[in-house]
Symmetry: C2
Amino acid sequence: MKATLMFGAGDVRIADVPEPTIKHPTDAIVRTVRACVCGSDLHPYHNMPRNDAGNPMGHELIAVVEEVGSDVTTVHPGDFVIVPFAYQDNTCVYCQEGMQTSCIHGGFYGQPDPGGLQAQYARIPLADGSMVKVPGINPDTANDELLASLLTLSDVYLTGYHAAHMGEVTPGKIVTVIGDGAVGLSAVLAAKSLGAERIILMGRHKDRTDLGREFGATDVVAERGEAGIAQVMDLTGGYGSHVVLEAVGHMPAYDQAVGVVRPGGIISRVGVPQYEEAPIGFGSLFGKNARLAGGPAPVRNYLEAGIADVLSGKINPGKVFDLTLPLEQVADAYQAMDSRTALKAMLTP
Amino acid sequence: MKATLMFGAGDVRIADVPEPTIKHPTDAIVRTVRACVCGSDLHPYHNMPRNDAGNPMGHELIAVVEEVGSDVTTVHPGDFVIVPFAYQDNTCVYCQEGMQTSCIHGGFYGQPDPGGLQAQYARIPLADGSMVKVPGINPDTANDELLASLLTLSDVYLTGYHAAHMGEVTPGKIVTVIGDGAVGLSAVLAAKSLGAERIILMGRHKDRTDLGREFGATDVVAERGEAGIAQVMDLTGGYGSHVVLEAVGHMPAYDQAVGVVRPGGIISRVGVPQYEEAPIGFGSLFGKNARLAGGPAPVRNYLEAGIADVLSGKINPGKVFDLTLPLEQVADAYQAMDSRTALKAMLTP
């Protein structure tokens, strides 16, 4: 089958690899309906050391179940499913507490075992916990818009939702979203769905912030750094933002978040931090009782509700996809996202 | 009148200073019933640069109102009041959101203006927002135990309560408290009052951890660092603590907190951080969705409820005082706390 391998920074290719097979009785094999490229895939695209064996890529998928192991009970061959970007048993203590990305028996795709999801087929470990059936939808006849929105439930939209959820967005709150990438725009949509009164989007790519406005942003701030902070403070009457959703992961974005959060407010991060240490002392978080939240989204925890919201038409998060390419052209998909000519690229098998 | 001045590290003395007078129509003048020394007073006691003018000290007080300015309406001469460690108008946007330590018009005692509260008299700015009357209690006839507990509502107990509140302690939660000082023990008592199922106290002074057990600690861990983390993990079945209340403020205490918090859990800090930068990236907080909260306690927000809990006998936080000295001996009070021969020292006028 065709699968995406990365051999080093900037070098991502389609390769012919053996089709996956059931290894454990809790596994399932699925056939790809749609996959896509994540902003986080661009980190190794920038800095991965040379690896001649190639590393399997991809962690976002909607698919049809081909085969299940003997212990799998909740999904069956032929089911159309959404596959969260992490696998989990969905039964351990952490899963029960809604932290499935910390599942004791779980893990992540995009490594030799269990492989990547930018491929024609995939092996899904712990299948009962790691996929959810979409009821009543035939992927062969469903329209592209619906499939795109369902695909975002694998990661990007529910990562934005996680930011808003952990940021405790509720009606009446002022929310600032930092970053106009696909996760940031998803966070805007999620904040809107949770009733935010005002949503300030910090981003400087007009085509993207235009989609942000469509998703619910009430204000756009293109400035960054101190000028951006000053503008957000101005927009909030000098008081700052109750919630800041940080969807970038670089230090300047964190500094902006600290600058605009109001006393007692929450900074919720879903951009994977490209730093380990950062200011949290009296002069940054402590002095104003600002809180910090966020991490890898436990997508599984939000998946049933997300499916219902997409199927009902309440949300249409698939609009973040502005490029669709066949899997064979995955290298072009990476290149387009890296050069920012595409916001997010979908792959067809 | 007699007031406490600090002239440099280790040099704290009683001095004769002019009695305070009303400066603004929103001020009140109060006469001290009880004051005390705070763990945070020990920071300048360790490192204050020489200052021949002397810096007024103290920020914890119960008192009787002597005189009020023409704009003060809620307290009157003769009222017995609790004075929170920060002053505030209690009406600004931040105060209304429960963040009175960030009051736009507020500030802190222990500086030349408005002075310190380890003194016979004090000027209280913004008196309507900065003191609360204790109903039905005559301080001249009330017993010492009750006065001690009411005094803790000025800072130490409600700081511990703030930690537990921001840590979202609820029934069923496993809570670890780091630090067996007066704030840590108060945090134990507050966690117990909020229904924590299990309270693990990390501290190594047996007389203090014994009081911690009396306040509700179910387990005591004397080890620190990696050994202490391992023991807490063991006590929690390897899963970690839902809530960690950090009442120390030094970096090793933060590292312990990161080590024992479980995925999705909250580290709530009330020990004033003696650091600005700390690990918050993928390897510390982000990877496990651990949250960070805390800051200077908005005591005013919790004061009426705290008074009711003390008067009803539900809590008796005054047990943290194990030394009472006359104000003239304030230097001995600092010395006793600094040498850890006293947990917390009360001062009588």
